[in-house]
Subunit: 716 residues, 2 copies
């Protein structure tokens, strides 16, 4: 039993990195479960059975058979009623077959485990389970799903789904999806991995509308077996795939996804769309059984692994149109040039790029001189360059801009005017560095786009799409410029709850600056500490020191501006009145301890923290303190551990007004704040029992960032 | 000389509101300039001359003639060389003609004034001036532009441009634009008014791609004569136009645009895209000579006049696709239902709506009961409603959701599965309240969309476009629900610079609460005021009182927390050291006056202000104080005067966390803050010499908003 040989030997979907791809070690003995097959029997089977095939045209089991009508191998309808469907003899049971690689199950959930047992008995190597009504529908469905998964696991059968419409591999004409039109999808080089089968189909057709063919489109559904990482590795190794699009609802194993994404983005561009900007978790859970998870963390993780993260499926398509043809070398700065035949649309593109933070760099004097020679006076000859109605010199103008040392990638917008501009001739020499967008009659544009595609130039549908495409090319190059620290296992534990002094001491050992402080076990020590700290006239903060009191301010445990013994006693009185910990009764506490700290110079307040995300593990957070934090301004999130470069990139993601120091506040010391971020990340990565670190606030002072408060939360 | 009669008498573009539409009062006497013609000779001429017509296929003067090839009236090429072009005899001068309504000038800028003189001599009634190189290029071009405008004005010739590609009226086959393909644009019911001729073309073809025909598409260019307001009024009266799209770069006469927009949106939906999110002013000025103006003010003004404001040309098209077929009655709340045949895309739509602040309301128990009867178990039956693969009951499911009393408009996403769903049959009964989006092979979808369009149902291209379309329908209905106060002329002046006490007194007379305060002309009065104000133990703020000192805090003119005579003297010493006004030398000032005020309770700080926008006139601003203001969070802007409903709508645009009172801060008293906004608006509207009002901060206290500082800036 072999898979269909590929016409092009390089066009293989076999995952080279999976040693178990050759099949089960044993198909007879029940002793040890066999090693699973690779994904070849699933995506490039030699023969297929459709279980639940139907003669009724409105049934999914009929549509699936129709969808597979161009499959070049053996195709068996399976239905207990037997007979013939669409001219093919029907098997009454899968057990009648012996040569089936892939079984596509279009049967109700309850019938799936038995169908998989039949498949196992018949030596089937892969299955697609289309039905919904599994884990996404509740505990009963979850139990059926687990039964199905375990049957497949024991037989080594690779399982796609359940709860998916299937997949499409138009290159090999394996279009196993219950929409018959998929049989006519144009083969191409863009691949899709979608959590939802419906989105997989939606994207395939949106790509087709954009003139882009499909290499492989996979709807993962509930993903009990085949999941993002393995398909990504497959696509990373697949020379026929030039770009990958991801649709992500929720993520189970974050680190595995991140690792596979890193391997993929090192070789080809990946564009990702994450659902969940708004709170859609209830509907989402009912849909794929997946928790939507933290939208911000997931997006940060995808980007950190090199994926270009977009905000809609339409943007995903535009970004793939661009990146499948244009990928720049890794770079921290990417210079975008823009050349337009009409100023108005050019202004729209410039504006859309500016709104994404992409400024068009000025051209060199030499380039401008050349443009002055080529262009009529009064056109805009900076960047963007507006030619006015294109003349025969358009190609030379383009060459001049593309040749400018500050320009890495060039966007061109020109209406379709065959008499005025031949885009293939004009843009061709810059192929690989140029994106085109145009407007005109649809037929003419499609012809032109096809010719441009042959020349390696992507065509986008309008000014907004051109900006999206350019931004994707820039992001792809820049994202890969920041190296990340490799994941690290925890090597130790804290072992107990830490009070503020202990938390700060731990952070100080990692390089975090905290204000000068004194611990006082009683009032006498507190007064001595006050005298000591206020020698130079500074004021102090007096705080309760108790690991069990986590919200000190809320209970009257923080007193600022203390500078004399009277005020100190007032503060200590208030602190003594705080209930000890969370369980002790109210009233004075003889074992009460105090922390006295020098007050810091004024400055911007930031929040630095770390949490252990359920899906992705340690995550470091950097946000604005005070009101901005309350108003829903998203913090900067990155997976820990942080490399030096990553921690600096994180700091630079703060608003420029904060970095520069607004309203006379001191500017941010980028390297010093980056050190704080790394320290917090290392702390949570290294200590397996730390669940949260919270430095709130970190004050930006003229001498660098200073952690005014510190909380290290450990597992009980 | 008459215009081409329309096949449908209701299809008239003649602006009914313009009494001068019948033509010049006199065409012979040079005494008084004639009243200008209406726009009929421009957009529906009986005969056209193309001045600068060329036999060379790559010239714009050739393309223009080609573009007009379907024009049903007389078409005269004009070129001094004479001969024949495209089979038409060439006039060597416009003066040879006597029956030309519209002259399209495709000649260089310098030749335009003379060509217009020829046109005037020949009795031409309208002209399109295509060339660039006028005001947008500098002073020289501006002079030529003014000369051209004055020739046209004196002859009563209506002038479109200069610096435009022209216009398209496919309904009447007047496609005067130098892209020959415009002759084949499909007639339809959507009209476009674009500041840029290139964007006009771009939009026309984007609409065509979306299956939408064009009624009238106008590129205004430099708009020396024909401008937004007049074209909007034309379209408001044009029964053949069902929806209008605007592309706005800069606005000259804001109130005229707003008034025309109000008249238009009262009758049909308008969607507007404003360029200028990022700073593109340099390029924009070179392009149309228009200042981009304040992006925020322009967008606020457009929305306030009832236009749905979008963020890209692509969104503009999706919104027009939706609104040309679906317009809801005016409503403050609009309930959106969503019905999907595939859960994944449904989740994407739900998420995109949520990100725009549109939540899907729950369905009634009766509707849910009906859905339970119709749908298989385990599908999501709230809102959104996911049917799973559509069954024959899809139409009944749709009827149930559409019939829910909480649902005003319904979005439907379903992949194109002819065997499973007939969208025309299923959606038809809900026409006018339902938007459809789908995915599938392009040919099939276009056919289906055409059938749906005939049934009054718009088809959008994907999940994101469906969300954009639904959001546009919601916005259109809600925007019109807020009545605005009519514009009011200034009736008085302030007449001099006001100090803080005078400014606050003026604001108090309009209903703004300020802290209790005392004016002190000398130290003795200051001490008496302190004794008076601190009777109840409150602390006071001591400020310099001087209309010439506008930035009091910066010069040490504000001292908070004063509660004893010693502290007061310290504060007065500091204030006395401030230089008097901006011109006086430093040193003590015998005439120094002081303001003592009760300190307010803590609370959120807001900024309320008003400015006189150069284009739009009085504008009221509401923003967050402190850090949030520095971080580029956009304030809420509305044109003044404010109606009570508008001022409350403005308050409700604040973040909900602020309205509710976060971190224990008091909630916002919406009615009281609305009063403050109206007062500030009325102040600047009513006083012609007030250029700015600045209440920074307005403290949100448990007793309502309190203006802690007030600045009223008057013209010198």
């Amino acid at each position: 039993m072999t898979t269909v040989p590929s016409a092009d030997a390089r066009t293989t979907l076999a995952p080279a990195t999976r040693p178990a791809a050759t099949g089960p070690a044993s198909t007879t003995g029940p002793a040890a479960p066999p090693a699973p097959y690779g994904l070849d029997p699933l995506f490039r089977p030699a023969s297929i059975a459709v279980v639940g095939a139907s003669a009724q045209p409105d049934k999914a089991g009929h549509a699936m058979l129709q969808a597979l009508r161009r499959f070049p191998g053996a195709l068996h309808p399976v239905n207990p009623r037997g007979g013939e469907i669409l001219g093919r003899p029907v098997l009454t049971s899968l057990r009648e077959s012996s040569d089936v690689d892939l079984a596509v199950l279009v049967v109700p959930p309850v019938a799936v485990p038995a169908a998989l047992e039949d498949a196992a008995a018949a030596g089937v190597r892969a299955a697609v389970v289309c039905a919904g009504g599994f884990a996404e529908s509740g505990p009963q469905g979850a139990a059926v799903q687990e039964r199905a998964a375990s049957v497949a696991r024991e037989a080594g059968i690779r399982l796609l789904g359940p709860n998916t419409s299937g997949f499409m591999n138009p290159v090999d004409r394996v279009t196993a999806n219950f929409m018959p039109a998929v049989a006519d999808l144009t083969p191409g080089t863009v691949s899709i991995v979608a959590q939802s089968g419906g989105v997989n189909l939606t994207l395939a057709f949106l790509l087709a509308r954009a003139g882009v063919g499909l290499r492989l489109g996979v709807g993962l559904g509930n993903a009990v077996d085949v999941d993002f990482p393995e398909v990504l590795d497959l696509l990373a190794d697949d020379d026929a795939t030039t770009a990958v699009g991801l649709h992500v609802e929720g993520v189970g194993d974050g680190p595995a996804l991140v690792a596979a994404l890193r391997r993929t983005t090192a070789r080809k561009p990946v564009v990702a769309f994450k659902v969940g900007r708004s709170d859609v978790s209830e509907f989402a859970r009912s849909h794929t059984g997946a928790m939507i998870g933290s939208y911000g963390v997931t997006r940060a993780a995808l980007a950190q692994a090199g994926a270009v993260v977009v905000d809609s499926l339409e943007e995903l398509v535009a970004a793939l149109v661009a990146l499948r043809a244009v990928r720049l070398p890794v770079a921290t700065r990417v210079g975008v040039g823009l050349l337009t035949g009409q100023a108005g649309p050019g202004l729209v593109v410039t504006d859309a790029l500016g709104a994404r933070g992409i400024e068009l760099p000025p051209l060199t004097a030499a380039t401008q001189q050349r443009l002055t020679e080529l262009l009529p006076p009064l056109t805009f000859q900076r960047n963007p360059v507006d030619t006015g109605r294109p003349s025969p010199e358009f190609g030379q103008v383009l060459a001049a801009v593309a040749g400018d040392p500050g320009i890495d990638v060039l966007g061109v917008y020109a209406l379709d005017e065959p008499g005025a501009l031949d885009p293939v001739a004009a843009l061709g020499p810059a192929a690989g560095r140029v994106l085109f967008a145009t407007g005109g009659p649809q037929d003419a544009i499609e012809q032109r786009a096809a010719a441009l595609a042959d020349a390696g130039i992507p065509t986008l549908g309008g000014p907004g799409e051109l900006a999206t495409g350019l931004a994707a090319v820039v992001a792809d190059a820049r994202l890969r410029a920041v190296p990340d620290a490799p994941p690290a296992p925890a090597s130790r534990t804290v072992g107990r709850a830490l009070d503020e002094h202990e938390a700060k001491s731990l952070l100080e050992s990692l390089g975090v600056r905290c204000p000068a402080r004194r611990v006082a076990d009683d009032r006498a020590q507190a007064h001595a500490a006050l005298a000591d700290l206020t020698r130079d006239g500074v004021r102090v903060v007096v705080k309760v020191l108790d690991a069990a009191v986590t919200h000190k301010s809320d209970v009257g445990g923080v007193h600022v501006g203390v500078h004399d013994p009277v005020a100190l006693d007032r503060a200590l009185d208030a602190i003594d009145a705080i209930p000890s910990g969370t369980t002790a009764p109210a009233g004075a506490d003889a074992s009460r301890r105090y922390l006295l700290e020098e007050m810091a110079a004024p400055g911007t307040e930031l929040i630095v923290g770390a949490v252990r995300d359920p899906a992705f593990g340690p995550v470091v957070l950097l946000g604005l303190g005070g009101v901005a934090a309350e108003l829903g301004r998203e913090p900067v999130l990155r997976l820990a551990p942080l490399s030096p470069e990553r921690s600096e990139e994180m700091v630079r993601a703060l608003p420029s007004a904060v970095l520069a120091g607004f309203r006379g506040a001191p500017p941010v010391d980028i390297a010093a704040l980056a050190t704080v971020l790394r320290a917090v990340g290392d702390l949570i990565v290294d200590h397996g029992d730390v669940t949260e670190v919270d430095l709130n606030p970190v004050r930006v002072t003229p001498d660098g960032p200073l952690a005014l408060d510190a909380l290290v939360v450990t597992e009980p």
